[in-house]
């Protein structure tokens, strides 16, 4: 080849232990441990058993977090998921009360969620000039609106076949079934994001959509898929939520989208796309859940808990920036 000067380009990765501890994920692990220690000191009831017992209440938000992280990595957002949860839960409860066999009820919930995802995905990929924030704000209102119409005057529905739903919240030892599913999903979502083509292309699209397009990546198809996954997982979250509350009402899933986004952002996944790691988001999700359980145990009121989580979130967004400028300053010093 012309111009070849025999210059060698290094292709061996250099990962040091120090680097991984100093990464945001490393810091999150430390925060996680600190939260556990703190809660243990504050509350004598903060034992593994008790924490696991209370966990199912919060796990459905983690299910929403997984696909939400993908959507944020793409540089998009979905704030309709709380409403999808509501619509899907409503559909499930009504279907169950109408005598539908339970496996079919599960399928209906996932299907309703998936369908909502299809709607979001179609609008967003067909009209790329519309920001996904606005599109999903619209569908947020629409999906919950449909649920409200279906629920009618009472605004709520309780399941009569509570036995089937109760079966879902069963445990193996101290571990709820749901916990295992969360672990499996976590592993799958991490692996897909770091090891597989879909994950790589996701990050490429989030980092630079035009370059991805020019590189032949199917940008629209990928975005569409992410929204459908989001929808299906909303259906899944709805299933577990219903299993815990034996019913649905007009406020079911309200604000869940913000919890899911908060977990991702706290975990270092930027809403601008192309940044962050799945693993960071997962640690962050567990930090938030464990902190909530701990603060709940010492009877801290829920508004105050929200306040603390809000502060944590803002700190999470600011801290990396501060540490980056520290690093830059240090670099300057060492070079000078």
């Amino acid at each position: 080849m012309a111009g070849k000067s025999g210059r060698e380009i290094n292709a061996t990765p250099q990962n040091t232990l120090k680097k991984s501890i100093l990464s945001w994920e490393g810091i999150l692990v430390i925060i996680f441990l600190a939260v556990l220690v703190l809660c243990r000191i504050l509350s004598p009831n903060y034992t593994l058993n008790n924490v696991l017992r209370e966990m199912p209440k919060y796990l459905s938000e983690i299910f929403l977090f997984f696909p939400m992280a993908y959507i944020l990595m793409l540089g998009e957002i979905d704030i309709s998921v709380g409403s999808i949860v509501c619509l899907s839960a409503t559909a499930g409860c009504l279907a169950s009360n109408a005598g539908t066999p339970f496996p079919l009820v599960i399928l209906i919930m996932l299907l309703v969620g998936g369908l909502c995802g299809v709607v979001n995905g179609l609008i967003i990929t067909r009209f790329p000039e519309l920001p996904s924030m606005i599109v999903t704000l619209g569908t947020q209102i629409i999906f919950r609106g449909i649920a409200e119409i279906v629920l009618g005057n009472g605004g709520s529905v309780s399941v009569t076949d509570s036995a089937s739903f109760r079966a879902i919240s069963k445990r193996v030892g101290p571990f709820p079934y749901m916990f295992f599913l969360v672990v499996i999903c976590a592993v799958v979502f991490v692996i897909v994001s770091v090891k597989m083509k879909f994950g790589r292309e996701l990050m490429a699209i989030g980092s630079n959509r035009r370059t991805s397009l020019y590189s032949g990546i199917k940008v629209k198809a990928t975005i569409f898929k992410a929204y459908v996954i989001m929808g299906v997982f909303s259906g899944l979250a709805a299933l577990f939520l219903t299993a815990a509350s034996y019913g649905a009402n007009t406020t079911t899933g309200d604000g869940f989208e913000m919890d899911a986004i908060a977990m991702a952002v706290f975990g270092g996944i930027a809403t601008t796309g192309g940044k962050g790691k799945m693993i960071g988001g997962i640690i962050a999700a567990f930090i938030i859940v464990c902190l909530r359980i701990g603060l709940g145990q010492i009877n801290m009121n829920s508004q105050l808990i929200l306040l603390i989580i809000g502060i944590l979130l803002i700190a999470a967004v600011i801290l990396p920036n501060i540490s980056a400028s520290f690093k830059a300053a240090k670099k300057k010093k060492s070079q000078a």
Partner: protein, 503 residues
């Protein structure tokens, strides 16, 4: 009083870890146009920033009309009558031309802004520059060339005596450049002194009487433009002799690999037909906005082709999206490397393998990252990228090296048959340019069909075997290497509306 309006002696500017300027000198005569040249990273921009008070030099002295000055900031420089106009105007697109011109030195009476007067004055400045737009126009609606005129008008309005033009022609078409030349002539005749930074030799020959060259942060010399040869000047800039800027090998083209027939897209181009043979470099030129890029983007499925056929190796192909185009082996290297060519926040390796990820998927569905890195390494070395590792970020490279990475990314696609390079050397300095031409020549020798979209006459004449000229969305001429001259091409690119009917 000194003979110079502006004189800088022994200027040294240190950034953490690097000497951006090392004892450089500069002397500007009254009423002269002085070119400042050098490769990217030679220190030109830093030097300008020292003059305009943005940076403070660690060492050295600066004299204005023989008096020593010490600028504390850009305001001091502006007050002393120094104004700079940049390649990409740093203006407020949502404000009017008048507002832009009088920003920071508005005409006020008792604290009330005198818009009428300002509009009138602004219009006078514009008329003087022969600008064809109103002072009440919104800045954002103007072309880059027009925005530059506004910046120049702004410089004039502050009564600046020294005007610095930083690569003003880089974003302009040939026509617009001509107009800019006239403006610069006029400013000079009005007694202003002008510092002109450019990569284009034509700019320098047309405008400057003297040229100062920087290289590697150092002052190399100041020469009279009419006394220095092109080769000597390049040597001064690059530090070595470039024996052959355009290393075009004579080839005998093979079979036709790619043909476009009667391609149309309403509002962009009409009835465009062209073809390229194996081993052939086909130039596609014309003015910016003639529809060259638009044709290729439509053909590659980025936008839509409304009419027309595309043939690859004699077979008609149907390209619906860029994925089809990639899989068929038609690779477009876009003009804007930073926005559409590379992911700057990614390592070079992953940039190179982005279009060919499929190749590295193992049986278990995972990406074989080791094989991926080795492939990237091979292609990055093939194009001689100046990088330390495949993990270096795209943003860490200079324009020329970014272009090489984009080429590596294309080369890694082994199904590639046709390479479409859109302005392959835009913003690339002279040393890297020669390397990119060498790579192009090499690609041709390997039998790829190459289409080069370019506005730069020398590279079209120097590298293309065959040249298509476009104007107003139509192909207005096809020339062989031996019949092409600058004049013929210009004439074809500017054909008036009697032939180039409505698109």
């Amino acid at each position: 009083m000194s003979e110079y309006v502006l004189e800088l002696k022994g200027i040294t500017k240190i950034f953490p870890g690097v000497k951006a300027l090392n004892k450089v000198h500069f002397q500007l005569l009254p009423g002269e146009v002085h070119a400042l040249m050098g490769e990217n990273g030679a220190g030109k921009s830093t030097f300008i920033k020292v003059i305009t008070g943005v940076h403070k030099a660690e060492e050295g002295e600066m004299f204005l009309n023989g008096e020593k000055v010490d600028f504390k900031g850009p305001k001091d420089a502006a007050a002393a009558g120094i104004a700079a106009v940049y390649q990409h105007p740093t203006s407020y697109p949502d404000l009017t031309v008048t507002e832009n011109i009088f920003m920071n030195h508005e005409i006020k009476k008792k604290g009330v802004l005198q818009w009428k007067e300002m509009n009138k004055k602004a219009q006078e400045y514009l008329d003087e520059l022969d600008a064809g737009f109103k002072s009440t126009a919104e800045m954002g609606t103007l072309s880059v060339a027009e925005q530059q005129m506004v910046e120049i008008a702004k410089a004039v309005s502050t009564n600046a005596q020294i005007i610095i033009l930083d690569e003003p022609t880089a974003a302009l078409t040939a026509n617009e450049s001509q107009k800019l030349y006239t403006i610069v002539d006029k400013l000079r005749d009005d007694g202003k002194s002008i510092i002109f930074i450019s990569h284009r030799f034509e700019d320098m020959y047309r405008l400057a009487t003297r040229v100062t060259v920087f290289r590697d942060s150092q002052y190399i010399g100041t020469y009279d433009v009419d006394k220095i040869t092109n080769a000597d000047l390049i040597k001064a800039m690059v530090g070595r002799e470039i024996s052959d800027m355009y290393p075009k090998t004579e080839i005998t083209p093979g079979e036709e690999v790619f043909r476009i027939e009667k391609a149309s897209r309403t509002g962009y181009f009409k009835d465009v037909s062209l073809s390229v043979k194996a081993g052939e470099i086909v130039g596609l030129t014309g003015l910016v906005g003639a529809g060259r890029t638009e044709v290729m983007e439509a053909v590659c499925g980025i936008t839509k082709l409304e009419e027309g056929k595309v043939f690859l190796q004699g077979k008609e192909v149907n390209i619906k999206n860029p994925t089809d185009s990639r899989d068929l082996g038609i690779v477009l290297l876009p003009e804007d490397r930073q926005k559409t060519g590379l992911i700057l926040s990614w390592g070079l390796g992953r940039n190179v393998t982005l279009p060919i990820l499929k190749k590295f998927i193992k049986k278990n569905g995972f990406i074989d990252e080791k094989a991926e890195r080795e492939t990237a390494k091979k292609f990055l070395e093939d194009v001689d990228t100046k990088a330390i590792s495949v993990f270096d970020l795209g943003s860490s490279l200079s324009g020329g090296n970014q272009q090489k990475v984009v080429v590596a990314k294309a080369l890694a696609q082994d199904q590639m048959k046709v390479v479409i390079m859109d302005e392959p050397t835009k913003g690339v300095d002279v040393g890297a340019k020669a390397e990119i031409y060498a790579i192009m020549d090499d690609l041709a020798k390997q039998g790829y069909g190459i289409i080069m979209i370019s506005s730069e006459m020398p590279e079209i004449l120097g590298m293309a075997d065959r040249i298509y000229v476009m104007c107003n969305g139509r192909i207005t001429g096809e020339l062989n290497r031996n019949e092409a001259t600058q004049e013929v091409i210009l004439e074809l690119s500017m054909e008036k509306s009697d032939k180039g009917a409505e698109v």
